[in-house]
Symmetry: C2
């Protein structure tokens, strides 16, 4: 009976995610579900990205946390298309959260949508939200064993980020071990090392978004966005 | 129907946790469920604690991770009473995991048992394992907003740890904000600031264990443990 219920929950989630995806693609919005443990730097990366891309690109953010709207307040300095979802005791965003949040932003006036998931390396991986890509984030201060310990996020993410490279000299982190664990789990993994604080690696991240965006969000939307100098760099 | 199933799962968990607690207390074992996000330093703290307390005190560890037995390998340098639980996709330990793990260590030859939960600030909070105390761990590199964003772990923990104090000068972390969020949520919270790496604050942590242990694990066991010089310091 428990399995049946879990299957039902996932089935409903998949149905709602498909509706989200249909709506987002029709509007030409490229959607990134950003996953990572608490404090790995998801909000800081989105802030740094907004700083680079807005106003040339129209970027929205849906951000999930158990409580507070602190992240939304941080993002709101860069874009007014921000929705904070508070999940209460919920450990991940589900498609219905995103569907509700989408009613509070103007999807038709967006080129790029970040969904910052609840800080959790585990539970969010299994839930489709309607995104184009899932991006999994680790950080140097979190230890070099975290990829090996979390194979599902490694395998399910289109891109893996290793954040807080500026702190690498301060912490015991075996970069070769971390990377070899990733490539053992996923030989064709794409990894970008960066620091949302220092800005190192941000060019690669912006380039990656630019590569992905026209390829995936091809169902509609504005051409001016792909012509954005940052995203058109390559 | 979904709620019913969740209630059943929690009810079964509570029943098994009660059995674990009965068995551990009868053996005079003081049991700590250590909770925190991935990479906050749970394993490093247990290592540092084992280094201080073993062999004067007989300490066991049950450690949960989705995959790998890296943490157990690290602990095994200090004690042979170590069990690694791999939860697969499971985001927290449940009482049945602990019950099974307890069959693989000699409970009657233990004074103190650490259960290192899966790295997750959310899901483990709601599951009783049969522990005496839950201890919630944050870290300076994880950001000063994490207590406010995770009220349940703040409220449900007997002690809160702020780890990685050695890195405080390197990171943007407003200590006053972090602490005021905690005391707003739980006015009588007990907080210890420490660094498992530098050793700062470890005395307070060891003292706290010593204060708690005789008070809670009073149903049996050996007196020599409470006479351990480290735990008898106060």
């Amino acid at each position: 009976m428990q399995v049946q219920v879990v299957q039902n929950v996932l089935k409903i989630n998949d149905e709602l995610a498909a509706l989200n995806r249909q709506r987002l693609r029709a509007a030409g919005v490229f959607t990134v579900d950003l996953l990572g443990g608490p404090g790995c730097g998801k909000t800081a990366l989105i802030e740094a990205t907004l700083k680079r891309l807005v106003p040339g690109l129209r970027v929205g953010v849906i951000v999930g946390d158990l409580a507070t709207q602190r992240d939304a307040d941080r993002m709101a300095r860069f874009t007014d298309q921000v929705v904070q979802v508070n999940t209460g005791k919920g450990c991940h965003l589900e498609a219905h959260h995103v569907m509700q949040a989408m009613t509070r932003i103007d999807i038709d006036r967006l080129d790029l949508l970040f969904i910052e998931n609840v800080g959790n390396l585990i539970c969010p991986v299994g839930f489709d939200l309607g995104q184009d890509v899932k991006v999994g984030m680790f950080c140097t201060t979190g230890g070099d064993d975290k990829a090996a310990k979390h194979p599902y996020i490694v395998c399910e993410s289109s891109l893996l980020l290793l954040n807080k490279m500026d702190l690498l000299p301060q912490v015991p982190f075996d970069r070769d071990l971390f990377l070899s664990d990733i490539y053992r789990l996923k030989p064709d993994a794409r990894v970008i090392e960066l620091s949302a604080v220092s800005g190192a690696g941000l060019d690669q991240w912006i380039d990656w978004l630019g590569e992905q965006r026209p390829r995936r969000a091809s169902a509609g939307g504005n051409d001016d966005a792909t012509a954005h100098p940052e995203l058109a760099r390559k």
